[in-house]
């Protein structure tokens, strides 16, 4: 899949024996016109995805200061950015938070999403309507969701603590203001955001499983749980892979939600590689340090992508 294996068009010269060069030129013109369809998109993606990748690597070896944007000077400074970022304790913390945040979010989103997909896979009145309405949280801008949750999770006047208080379950939980709680709270909110997406894709996968398999399982007297484990899960595996990979890619780089909920605080308790990149570059205007953290973020994604591609290949598809 990595290499292009499209066969080249037959060389034009062999076909046009003694004829005028017209057919060959015509074919060339045709090819050029065809490339005209594809070229804008290729150029666009090179500019907006390829170029930033390369530029970030270069930037990570340059010394940026707030003055850079007036003078245009960003001298190369070897591996200074790298060593200063790696020596900063905040980088290690942010890396750890990123991994915990991603793993926790994926676990929660996936399990609840799968449970809901199985639930909605049954036929019952209004099932379709309810299922489509659940998508709403996913369609609301993520910053906005974050801000709404910030109000809900407010320690003194937020509705969650009010509710817990009514139930006699404490109700003074400092969800976003305690360094011990904040990361967990951010994960919980992100799980809420991700459930609809997981549910819809897994539901689509469940619909593809042939009904006969379930009939056969029930004829064999398999219990519900047994059927789920030996029919549903194996059949769903390709879809599960897709959901988890896409989930990983979109979760590991999250910025909006964390900025809206906690701005990385309190005491850097929710600082991730994404927010650290932002802070280095756009708050402290040290784009070199931001580029270093960004490169680490890309590296993590790339390693994951390689694993994914390899897993896909061994599946023999």
């Amino acid at each position: 899949m990595t290499t292009s294996t499209v066969t080249a068009p037959a060389p034009a010269k062999t076909s046009g024996k003694g004829a005028a060069p017209d057919p060959a030129r015509q074919r060339l013109r045709r090819r050029l016109a065809q490339w005209g369809f594809v070229a804008p998109a290729v150029v666009f993606m090179l500019l907006f995805f390829g170029y930033p990748l390369v530029r970030n690597i270069v930037m990570s070896f340059q010394h940026y200061t707030p003055k850079t944007f007036f003078t245009g000077e960003a001298p190369f400074n070897g591996a200074d950015n790298w060593s200063s970022v790696f020596q900063d304790a905040l980088f290690g913390k942010a890396l750890w938070h990123t991994l915990v945040f991603t793993a926790g979010s994926l676990l929660g989103q996936f399990c609840i999403g799968l449970a809901l997909a199985v639930f909605f896979n049954r036929r019952f009145p209004l099932g379709g309507v309810l299922r489509s309405l659940i998508l709403l949280p996913w369609l609301v801008p993520m910053v906005v969701s974050g801000i709404v949750w910030r109000r809900i999770l407010d320690q003194d006047t937020g509705v969650l603590n009010t509710f817990l208080d009514t139930l006699g379950l404490g109700g003074q939980t400092p969800w976003l203001t305690s360094p011990d709680m904040a990361l967990l709270s951010v994960i919980l909110v992100n799980i809420w955001i991700g459930i609809p997406f997981n549910m819809v894709i897994l539901y689509g996968g469940l619909q593809e499983i042939p009904k006969e398999l379930y009939e056969a399982a029930s004829l064999d007297g398999a219990s519900g749980w047994r059927t789920f484990r030996s029919v549903t899960l194996p059949m769903l595996k390709p879809v599960i892979t897709v959901v988890l990979v896409l989930g990983f890619m979109s979760t590991v780089k999250i910025l909006d939600l964390i900025l809206a909920l906690t701005d990385g605080g309190p005491a850097d308790a929710t600082q991730t590689l994404g927010t650290l990149t932002y802070q280095n570059s756009f708050v402290e205007l040290d784009f070199g340090a931001g580029a270093v953290v960004g490169n680490v973020l890309i590296l993590i994604s790339a390693v994951f992508a390689v694993f994914y591609l390899r897993a896909n290949r061994t599946e023999g598809k």
Partner: protein, 275 residues
């Protein structure tokens, strides 16, 4: 079918009840957003579970403060959709039909772009935008926002255009239509649904964008609603009613699209991910 027995019927309605409960929990935060918006006088105090009276002053304040940002969002999003479709529809057709050398590499590259974190793009893009004078410009933000939808749209439309029967296109070519004409007159009308789905998602991606709005703008000239609300909470800590009213307004397009274009959205989520 045993579904007609009273017990089975009761079980099915039981499922409906459970489904309503699940939906209630999932949508509660959005209800709370609306509820808080309708109680602007509660300020920093506790909010009642239901609004006592219909107080729209939060909304009028939000409209006054954020109305312009809503318009900016609309303008930028429509621009981004136009750029996105103009770039990705021909590409999707080219990749689906022409068998060009390197097509598969391009499709693979398109998928890989999903891996690049937005903040990394912004990091490099900001510096080029400064050089090109695109910071604080509508066009710059439209271009950046279009990049959010282009890979998705190419993958989605290509997978649809592959299934257009070759005979239809060949028939048009025999009638003397050139590739551009075939594309405009035959392929695009046939791909209407995938075009709509791509456009919808490009709109949603752009409307929800916060990162590019935050990083590619240094003044108040171009401020979409997402950035407007984010800065609102910084400035109006005590005025949650207005903040929530602005949030409701920002969620309206999503709600409208979900109701009007449910079919396309479901198709987009599954089609764009399970290629």
């Amino acid at each position: 079918m045993a579904a007609h027995t009273p017990a089975a019927s009761r079980r099915r309605w039981g499922s409906t009840a459970a489904g309503v409960l699940v939906l209630g929990v999932m949508l509660f935060p959005l209800y709370w957003m609306l509820n808080t918006a309708l109680q602007p006088e509660s300020g920093l105090l506790q909010v009642d579970p239901v609004p006592g009276s219909l107080d729209l002053s939060g909304f009028s304040k939000a409209f006054g403060d954020q109305g312009g940002h809503l318009l900016t969002s609309l303008l930028v999003s429509f621009g981004a959709v136009a750029i996105c479709l103009a770039v990705s529809a021909p590409a999707a057709y080219g990749l689906a039909r022409f068998g060009l050398r390197g097509s598969r590499t391009i499709v693979f590259g398109t998928l890989i772009t999903q891996m690049v974190p937005g903040i990394v793009i912004a990091n490099a893009l900001y510096n080029s935008y400064v050089d090109l004078g695109l910071v604080n410009s509508y066009f710059g933000l439209m271009l950046a926002d279009a990049s959010l939808g282009i890979p998705f749209s190419i993958v989605l439309m290509r997978s649809f255009m592959v299934s257009i029967p070759g005979e239809v296109i060949e028939a048009a070519e025999i009638d003397g239509a050139g590739p551009v004409r075939v594309f405009l007159r035959v392929v695009l009308p046939m791909s209407r649904n995938s075009l709509i789905t791509s456009g919808l998602f490009a709109f949603l991606f752009s409307w929800s964008d916060f990162m590019f709005a935050l990083t590619l703008n240094t003044t108040d000239d171009v401020k979409p609603i997402t950035l407007g609300i984010y800065q609102y909470i910084g400035a109006h800590v005590g005025d949650w009613g207005a903040v929530m009213a602005a949030s409701v307004l920002s969620a309206v397009p999503a709600a409208i699209l979900l109701v009007l274009a449910q079919k396309y959205i479901a198709a987009g989520i599954t089609g764009g991910s399970v290629k």
